[in-house]
Symmetry: C3
Subunit: 274 residues, 3 copies
């Protein structure tokens, strides 16, 4: 499956419209290019519909959200829905402030998302209506463990049924779920949390993968998560080999995506069905 999904991204070079935060926007653009997509960032209400209409997919990321961008997200999301282009939501920090939580819920109520990707605190906030999010990183009490995996998969599937979106919950173990089917993914490396933007970049990559594979959203999301996790593993080895730190790691992560091949992805993906 990885070969087909990945090849579609490379051949179609999906154009992805991102309305995203200004912290990691450059990383998202470079990671989109690295994975075979083409980025365009635009957030003014007067152009977001035009830009969405040009694009194959849309990624909405609520980090550093403000009212202006929020209105633009609603317009762009509705336009993408009309045109049947996949839309990805990254509810950065949902649960950390009332503003972000309510913004996430309002977007959920007005837009049909193909995929929602967040860490365990953010996804739990969406599932429970109230969160334990402490900032933009997941709270340890929300972590997925071997002990709670069964239960976690169950409520993530339920959230997928409720929202109509494939849910991607990332952490030490990643869960990608639709109502009747879930994947647990074991790729990745803890060093990914020592740089900013790992999650944002993954959401952008998911947007590219689903934009190029809009009839197989679940598998496209699984492929993107495996690819990103695998880059995290490869980047760790390369960084250690040159005694690098976190900035070296950030570079190796993007390099890893740009040097990825379908064979590397197929050979390195570590996942199971649940």
């Amino acid at each position: 499956m990885f070969h087909r999904i990945y090849k579609n991204v490379q051949e179609k070079q999906p154009l992805v419209h991102c309305i995203t935060n200004y912290v990691t926007v450059n990383d998202c653009a470079n990671m989109l290019l690295a994975c075979g997509g083409l980025p365009i960032m635009a957030d003014d209400i007067r152009e977001v519909e035009d830009i969405t209409a040009l694009c194959n997919g849309l990624c909405l990321n609520i980090g550093t959200l403000n009212d202006r961008a929020f209105q633009s997200m609603r317009s762009a999301g509705k336009k993408a829905n009309q045109l049947a282009r996949p839309v990805v939501l990254d509810p950065v920090g949902a649960g950390a402030s009332a503003f972000r939580t309510s913004a996430a819920f309002e977007l959920l109520s007005q837009i049909d998302f193909a995929v929602i990707r967040g860490n365990s605190s953010e996804i739990k906030t969406l599932a429970q209506g109230i969160g334990t999010t402490q900032g933009v990183d997941a709270n340890e009490s929300d972590a997925v463990t071997v002990e709670n995996l069964e239960d976690t998969v169950a409520w993530v599937k339920a959230l997928s049924a409720q929202t109509g979106a494939v849910i991607v919950m990332t952490g030490a173990m990643d869960i990608v779920a639709e109502p009747g089917k879930a994947f647990v993914i074991y790729n990745g490396h803890p060093m990914m949390s020592k740089i900013t933007g790992s999650g944002c970049m993954l959401s952008a990559v998911i947007a590219a993968f689903t934009a190029a594979n809009s009839d197989e959203i679940l598998l496209a999301a699984v492929s993107a998560v495996c690819a990103m996790g695998l880059c995290g593993e490869i980047a760790y080895k390369k960084t250690m080999a040159r005694n690098g730190g976190t900035s070296a790691y950030r570079g190796e992560l993007i390099d890893g995506m740009s040097l990825m091949t379908a064979d590397t992805l197929q050979g390195g993906a570590k996942f199971e069905h649940r």
Copy 2:
């Protein structure tokens, strides 16, 4: 010529005011420092005139444009014109949305630009009033080829005559033109399009080069384009030598500019008159 132009940049260390997009702003600031300039970014209407007055040049870039920044661009541009400081326009995505296209034309109508730099789709949009821009990258159908070079140089010269600005149209071949004279530049590498910001960074470098050489805008622009293209070539070799990917390439591109010398530039520039 390259020695004189380049030496002026190093000695004058031109301060360049950028009103630019938030995707590549960090790259623009670092590239400006790398080429010998000093960056200052400011976009609030209450300070842009003060900031422009401090600076030797101004760079207006309409990527991620919004109304607030647009008003500031008009004020800053008019101030720079009053003070006879060179102003560079980068019409990112002109043709991709009605908003950006009309913003570009409104800026053109109100501000005298020293240089306009864009890819072939963006420049064609300015020349024809309507574009085939697909996102922020050039549409292939707009590419300059050996076959259409003669015709292309002719209409780019005409656009220069019409706007009063030196036109820099970048792609596999770059064209730098004033009404009676054009240069075709063969420096550069395709990998420059695999990272975000190559074009934005070049526009910023052109602003620095013209700010330090305000009586030779055409040659300053040619030198900046050759320098950037040469960095693209050097970066490619260095990146391949270490099996790097696109992030490594981005770093090598900026490194290349910071390690540039007048001799390297003079020796490596590949151009012809048209």
Copy 3:
């Protein structure tokens, strides 16, 4: 002292709320992670109080200031004061425009800062009410020298008494002062001024160090300044060893912080009391 201060940062992993400019925001986030903190960026008025309340410290940076962010800074700063969380001010470009200068003074009048960090032109602007700031880099005429060090330390101490904040004035020699005590720090390297964001990153690191050591603000600030300067020295050696340029240096600077140890810091810090 460095062991204790540094260990507190690593163990407490302080969450730092930054309202900062979009030029260097990604660098600040990555540097915060590298030094042991956790970043969260949020600037909308409807959420800044929530976010500040979650965090251990706050960093206000007026580069690319606008009215919206300014209002948010005031709200966040007051909230942090109520909760007794340390607040750091980075008055980027104070003196370069009337807007930034008055914004800096208005923040000073309404918020109690734990630390104010700027270059010599910015700090002089705050001390004298009027500045010689030329852009975002210090004016050479404002530089601290062996000749004016005695006088400079005196007026920096006076500014500390006047504002109630520890003052950190960075340059070739850094001065960290409270009313009755000052440190002169000799760590650092001139190449730090060849990349954007050295100052912004230091302010963010100071916010993390003070957030984790809120009962020893002066020593926390000294430790942060020594750590950053030491990273600048190490990065220079590593960059030269691989014939790198300014982008390599930027990476090595962040890597240096992520690879720092308490022993390296203790062994490398170069300072004297004044």
